[in-house]
Subunit: 349 residues, 2 copies
DNA sequence: CTGTTAGCGCGTTCAG
DNA sequence: CTGAACGCGCTAACAG
């Protein structure tokens, strides 16, 4: 048995360090927190003591003494598709957690799909907020509103949907082109060498994430799977009824339709059309986001794979990033990276 | 714009509650922490005040006042395969994080594949530890050692490899039969309707996780993909050289070998044999764990998919579960559930 | 440049 | 059954 280095039995306190270095508490505090006004020689002495005793600041005590608290606004879509409902719930849970850490989250619901409304909501945001997480839109007005907040010293993170041209601090969400490529690889491989057509259904091509997914999907499908022809993108406006009609028309018109990639919402409509057509097991259907509905379609075999982003992880990550920024603490990039999950029937959580 | 309920501007303290309820600090504390010795009437009055003010205990202050600290042992394998090395690093990072929360982690490396050695290490563990995380082995001696620790009041979580018959508090790891089923579905679908043989390479069939994966794999492949015949399982002992020989022999002997599922380690050997044979692009190869090696094989196209468990998540989860148990706090199951990740070339993190 | 001191919000004695 | 008072480890304001 090989022992690793064991930690000291009880942690050293600032006072222990002060005694060891022969200085006062305040001086040690200055050195540890890298504040000005200490002679280089003294700094060295203190740092030696810190190293010798293995001193680590007690975050609980520091937070208590600092007594600062934080207030963040989470700007989420009104609307009620399953994914966004789920995201709201997860933000609420992250808020409960943060409340124990002297952090408060207010959730604001706005129509994030209207650039004017969204920009207006950001402009009107109360100045009490030190941080904002927003499901953004890549539009000049929104970008300006974000930049204005940033200029006022407010930390802004974009959530799920990015505004890359803005000065937001951080984007919490998946790499959408990569998600589209992932869907394409699954589609191409599931269809093996079969020939035929593949349809792409987006919510709206004016949504950057849908466009990016579609872009990644096309990129791989056309370059690596020449046996499959992609049909022009269809916009279902994330609406089930409309998407059902469009899908039904698609199935009727193209008897050689082999696959459907849905890079937005409206999945219930697709499922209905597919099942009504009797070709559900024959057509490979890949979509985004694990919800109660898509889970059912996957288990039933109508849906073949789900590309997912974990809303719980996203909500917690946004909260952590904002908190870390306010406390001037570093974040650990690979804990904050949102992964592109692939779910098949067999690895559903 | 719809506003969510906004939180109070400053959090209520115990003292605020005491004043509102017309009692003292100590009484509120007793009620809040569900201690004995308070009249029912007083309890009710305090609880009303708590509800009215939306009081939430400040965890930082509570931790500071309690001043308790925790010490955990993480028992990890000696040996040096990439996954375990990675796990060690992640445990070290979790330890750095915990150190700020008054928690200390000592890392012990033992030969976890030898039941006697592992059980001995657990038996000999210093009594200073309130919690132990162990990469376990499903063996009576190990089970007894875990149960003995549990009986002594030590919280035990199994990590990556479980001992389900023991009285461990919690298992931090993936559902291995489900992981095997996931691999089988990918294999079956990637091979579409092609006919031929599929080989399964395990490290050792006396390792429960390898057996479970292999079981799940067979289950799906035989029931859903009758076009594919599975060859008898081969044991590569997680050794690259040996696995290379075995794979080469396999490729030579079965000209209709269509797929290889590796449910253990030794991936470098498989890659070498596949690439040497010139059939790397033809044979579908699926394996476990994202490492620097498997990443390369996947990007290069020799490997088709990786089934992964995130060691960073596992290390943090084990630490959180132990900490929560010691502080008698609840855990949130879906944050602690370890997912079965699927990585293709396109969604690598 | 450095030291002293008064809390931060809560848990835990110990008296009443 | 209830209350007063001290201290956890650290920060910040002030004094020297």
């Amino acid at each position: 048995m090989t022992e690793g280095a064991t930690q000291p039995m009880v942690r050293a306190t600032l006072e222990d360090v002060a005694r060891a270095a022969g200085v006062s508490l305040a001086t040690v505090d200055r050195v540890v927190n890298r504040r000005e006004g200490v002679r280089a020689k003294t700094v060295a002495r203190v740092e030696a003591a810190v190293a010798k005793l293995g001193y680590r600041a007690d975050v609980a005590a520091a937070r208590l003494a600092r007594g600062q608290s934080f207030r963040f606004a989470f700007v989420l879509p009104t609307g009620s598709n399953s994914f966004m409902t789920n995201l709201s719930e997860q933000v609420q849970r992250a808020a409960d957690w943060l409340a124990g850490q002297r952090g408060f989250i207010d959730i604001l619901h706005v129509d994030v799909f209207d650039p004017d409304v969204l920009a207006g909501a950001l402009d009107d945001l109360s100045p009490v907020y030190q941080g904002v997480a927003v499901v953004a839109l890549d539009h000049p007005k929104v970008r300006d509103a974000i930049d204005e907040l940033t200029a006022r010293g407010v930390a802004v993170v974009t959530l799920v949907s990015d505004a890359p041209s803005s000065r937001r601090l951080h984007y919490v969400g998946i790499d959408n082109p990569a998600a589209g490529r992932t869907a394409a690889t699954l589609m191409g491989r599931f269809l093996a060498a079969r020939e035929g057509k593949v349809a792409v259904i987006a919510g709206s091509l004016s949504l950057r994430d849908h466009t990016e997914r579609q872009f990644g999907f096309h990129q791989i499908l056309t370059s690596e799977y020449p046996n499959l022809a992609t049909l022009p993108v269809i916009e279902g406006r994330d609406d089930s009824a409309r998407t059902r009609e469009l899908t039904a028309a698609l199935l009727k018109r193209h008897t050689d339709l082999r696959g459907i990639y849905c890079c937005g919402a409206g999945n219930r409509g697709i499922a209905e059309a597919l099942e009504a057509s009797g070709r559900a097991r024959d057509v490979v259907w890949i979509t985004h986001e694990l919800t109660q509905h898509t889970r059912r379609f996957l288990v039933r075999g109508t849906l073949d794979a789900i590309i997912n982003q974990d809303p719980g992880h996203e909500a917690r990550s946004a909260a952590r990033v904002l908190l870390a920024h306010c406390m001037e603490e570093p974040i650990s990039p690979d804990q904050e990276r949102i992964r592109i999950d692939i779910f098949l029937r067999d690895n559903l959580p």
